[in-house]
Symmetry: C2
Subunit: 413 residues, 2 copies
């Protein structure tokens, strides 16, 4: 981390000096002079574009397409689960309600907006490319399709069929790489450079973070409202957020969003951010608990494929997201993740394994007394259970097959 | 159809005289005296509960749960597709954005609301039950789970694994019936009667229609806005709606919604409703084109499992939905349905086969000159492609597997 600053036109992806990930720095003092919170919170757009003044891209324009319908996801009150866990205030933000059913739509939407005014050799916006185990690829393919841009996706050949199908249906060119996610990642960068494509890679392109930070903006808006309506209750004002961590880009994005709000002077209290990793893919958690920022690669093995990463691409910022907010990292086993899926299902939320990981982390945190009963807690569900049904099937018993008779029903009940 | 009227407490499901499906009749003259359209359209709830004054249930109460987040789905402007088809005005209403990713959430939400104040033998709201190939079951299981009610789902054992997984994750008791959907349907009714459960079955419980009609309310609100913003253009004011048809309950529900609006005096022009069936499951289309209302069962065979029905349970009303609005029925082959999936994907929408069927119907209608180039057209996508990935996989070519080298990329492009 050399702390060098560049102008927007000077750099496209990472730091030319040390290869580190770049943060987009907004002109916070100008923003705080120009806007009041109400200028944002009274906007009527039910999407992340309500935060356009705080984003480093211009309006992507065009008609009502799925690109315009990203974000502004619902927050559900998990009263039954809270009761079960002995907590007073528990909510879940359901990112599976995004157009391609995962958190990644936020990043892809902002990256696509960034390219709308760029031109390649043919005078058109450039071809978009990313490496992805599935969700980020689907998000890029879907958002690109929405505005008629082309996308190329590099996936490890182990990506679940459901996720690959979605990429193909969106018309993306999909190349299944005979290797790991990390091989696909490296190849996508080489290919972008060789062919003049615009690379969306997570933990590489600084604009993914700018998209993901909009989740923090929504949490901020939502929690301000909760605090207002709960004024008479003694609810504490320090929010704790649980989020699953693979590459480290989502947790970093959420942190960036809160830091932006703080820099503008709109955030009263920085939430505590707790990252949850699968035991078998815990490179960032390892660094956090070793008290360092150096990320040592692991040989990742977890059924939560969206967070199965050998070498996290956004590890440093992900460590800081927990460290600088008084948070921590928790690891959970695959069986804890599998248990969390029907736990969320029983309150009406269908999460993919990586999404349920955050809830599994909360369960572990309660057990380890890392949260207090009266902590206001928000769990992020990052993707839909429909994304990876094979894994989900492992979390429930098979349904019995019966003869079509009342007797058969009676017998089985 | 004996046209007998009953009071709300007199009947639970179908007509005791002839077994026909019942319509809920609101007090339209009281409603038109009590409300103006603006009383509805200025409400801030982004869900079907904004239409509570026009629904025969009371507020389901409770906190923010998925039950409160049903409906108010986005309408996308399909400019690229319109251009391709030679149309001027083409939109798609994306019902896959509902909590359990299909249109059926609307029906289940209203049915669950209906039972919130009912009590079974234990003093609790009754166990909910339905027969379902998947979407209706998932919707009922999800909505019931959201408010802590129990659900029992009877599915034919051929239901796709992805859909069954969703039922199980939501904590429903799932019984896979060794038989057809129709066998599951009959058994669910027998079991409801035998065990005192409340049956949500489509084309049986009159409240499913009341939930589904909310889509018509949303279309009405949306189209009024479109007409206002397009005032200077010469856009015609007669909307044509394409919707896929299996049981016939969705098309009947949409029709009911518009009829309600007409009865209150808020609808300027009844849209033309065009039903689209799979060739292999076309019982309602057959009756429509024979000019009769008698539905003769077929031996259903289509990959669009959500609309694969031997004996449609809401055929009479479904025939009338097209006949009374100047619409028609169109049948499409499975290969036309499969073609429609990537067609929609290319503009960023991922539909399940039954959802893409409506678009396939539009393509056929254009070919047969059943629509005029300047007709304003709305296509309903009734469910997410993630619901049935096996079928979707048939609609796209496999992605190639490559070595992780730039050379391999170069070679394949």
């Amino acid at each position: 981390m050399c702390n060098t600053e560049y102008l927007p036109g000077q750099v496209t992806y990472t730091c030319p000096r040390d290869g580190g990930n770049l943060d987009v720095i907004l002109d916070y003092s100008a923003l705080s002079k120009k806007y009041q919170p109400a200028d944002i919170t009274t906007r009527t757009d039910g999407s992340l574009w309500r935060y356009l003044p705080l984003l480093p891209v211009s309006d992507p324009g065009g008609d009502e397409t799925p690109l315009r319908a990203v974000g502004w996801t619902p927050v559900f009150n998990l009263q039954q689960s809270a009761l079960k866990l002995g907590l007073s205030h528990l909510w879940l933000k359901d990112e599976s309600r995004n157009p391609t059913a995962s958190f990644k739509d936020r990043a892809s939407a902002v990256v696509v907006a960034r390219t709308r005014k760029m031109t390649g050799m043919d005078g058109q916006p450039p071809i978009l490319v990313t490496a992805s185990t599935g969700n980020a690829g689907a998000a890029l393919a879907g958002m690109a399709a929405a505005v008629g841009q082309k996308a190329v996706i590099f996936s490890p050949k182990t990506a679940p069929a459901a996720k690959v199908a979605q990429l193909l249906v969106f018309g993306a060119r999909v190349l299944l790489v005979d290797g790991t996610y990390d091989d696909a990642f490296d190849l996508s960068i080489k290919a972008s450079n060789a062919f003049g494509w615009y690379c969306r890679n997570t933990g590489y392109n600084p604009f993914t973070l700018e998209g993901k930070k909009t989740a923090a903006f929504e949490i901020w808006e939502w929690f301000e409202k909760v605090l207002k309506t709960q004024k008479e209750s003694n609810m504490r004002t320090d929010l704790t957020i649980f989020v699953s961590v693979g590459d480290g880009n989502i947790i970093s994005g959420i942190h960036k969003g809160f830091k932006d709000l703080q820099a503008i002077g709109w955030l009263e209290q920085m939430p505590r951010i707790i990252g949850v990793q699968a035991e078998g893919s815990a490179a960032i958690s390892n660094a956090f608990h070793a008290g360092i920022e150096e990320i040592k690669p692991v040989s990742a093995a977890t059924l939560a494929d969206s967070i199965s990463v050998d070498m996290p691409r956004d590890g440093v910022r992900a460590v800081r997201a927990a460290r600088e907010t008084g948070g921590t990292y928790i690891t959970v086993s695959d069986s804890e993740i599998l248990n969390a899926i029907p736990e969320l299902g029983r309150v009406g939320i269908f999460a993919e394994p990586a999404g349920a990981t955050a809830y599994a982390g909360l369960v572990a945190a309660v057990r380890k007394n890392l949260v207090k009963p009266d902590d206001p807690i928000l769990v992020m569900n990052t993707g839909s259970g429909l994304k990876d049904v094979k894994a989900v099937m492992q979390s429930v018993a098979n349904a019995p097959i019966i003869e079509p008779t009342l007797e058969a029903v009676r017998k089985i009940l």
